[in-house]
Symmetry: C2
Subunit: 245 residues, 2 copies
């Protein structure tokens, strides 16, 4: 069997998230169906992680096994001619048998985009959260610095998430601004459910002086979801990159 790694991009607007669900259009469902048609056998793909309904991906990674002997460089075109235009394969690579898109990943990069224009920008409306309020960026940068590091992120994880260990290493949280587009980039070893969206919601509260940057260590140590800000909307979030050795 050959182990094929695909890098894929999708516009999450019209998908009910990554994971297969009966009778719903999902990234995994559409991709397995199309790979199965090309391979002429049923295929199960493994994703580096799930994304929720409305969340996008610039470079999500999946892998699957097949004995079909299509040269690996032909997979992107073979699939893209059959895939809908909101789901694109950008690269394919044959990997050793032990490569697993989730367990082999060393980390991930997510971006949360915010449109600060007074009136929403029609061209980014599906990919950026429109937030037309005056924001102070300096305190947000200070709060972001407090978030970086190895912490118990229970306060930044959806309540009742059935994961025992909520300690994660967040390499950095960076803010960049270009015109009216504010981008929060989170790079970390691993992420909890809704973690980046709660970080974004909390940083927006900091930018509006509702939370002091100095309160971040207290919020972290409280290990209480109600202490952090709201979960920012899904459509501002993009899985940017999956990191491997």
């Amino acid at each position: 069997m050959r182990n094929i790694k695909l890098t894929i991009a999708y516009d999450g607007t019209n998908f009910h998230g990554f994971q297969v669900q009966p009778n719903l259009r999902t990234v995994q469902g559409v991709l397995e169906e199309v790979i199965g048609r090309v391979a002429q056998h049923p295929v199960s793909i493994i994703g580096s992680g799930r994304t929720d309904a409305g969340v996008h991906a610039r470079a999500q990674v999946v892998n699957f096994e097949t004995d079909v002997r299509i040269p690996v460089e032909k997979w992107p075109i073979a699939l893209n001619t059959r895939l809908p235009d909101d789901l694109v394969v950008t690269a394919a690579e044959e990997m050793p048998p032990d490569f697993h898109s989730r367990f082999s990943a060393k980390g991930k990069v997510y971006r949360y985009q915010i449109d600060l224009s007074a009136s929403p920008n029609v061209f980014t409306r599906l990919y950026a959260y429109h937030y037309p309020y005056p924001l102070r960026i300096e305190p947000m940068i200070e709060a972001a610095r407090h978030l970086a590091g190895r912490h118990d992120f229970t306060s930044f994880c959806a309540a009742n998430t059935p994961v025992e260990n909520k300690v994660r290493l967040l390499h950095h949280v960076e803010l960049t601004r270009e015109d009216h587009l504010l981008t929060i980039t989170c790079r970390g070893e691993g992420f909890l459910y809704n973690m980046v969206r709660i970080i974004a919601g909390t940083l927006l509260d900091v930018g509006r002086d509702r939370i002091s940057p100095d309160a971040i260590p207290t919020i972290l140590s409280a290990c209480d979801r109600t202490q952090a800000g709201v979960t920012a909307p899904a459509h501002g979030l993009t899985m940017w990159e999956v990191l491997y050795e």
Copy 2:
């Protein structure tokens, strides 16, 4: 009567162009309906120019007359709360009675965007023409220089366009590239039907060595539509700005 100027942005994907057509969703149709509801009287808007089905606008300008005494700065929010999310009012201004969004315009800026990625970029797919072929940019810049100036643009105008005088002043045609996105910016006093899309199609032929940059003066002087390149697809085109005194 007050003469209100609106600056509007729209994603042209789901509009059958700017101009009202019976039973079709058009920018003018949607906007007149919503302004009429706010003003509580029927309204006719004048656009700076029409855009075809699929063409976008970053800053199209329209004006209309009303005797409703809503403060002009309230118009954008009053309209945006009622408009669909692919049509946004970004500014409103009260103008002298003789302001006419078309006749008062001194020129326009259009942008044509081309996605040169091997696999299409899902996030620009609605706003850039995917053209995954190797292009030589230098000859395209040279050809663009030949297009600038005051010329008879019959060769760069849809055949059978019922306009007598096809002489137009094109201030400049600029090419810029950022990552895989190539942008052709045309700034001119006035444009003929399909002119920017034919310029884009012709420059792409130049980039692929199908047309020599030196052939542009000959193509212009032929005054024959069949001499220029194809009309590039509508969705790559955005009306960028309308120029007034």
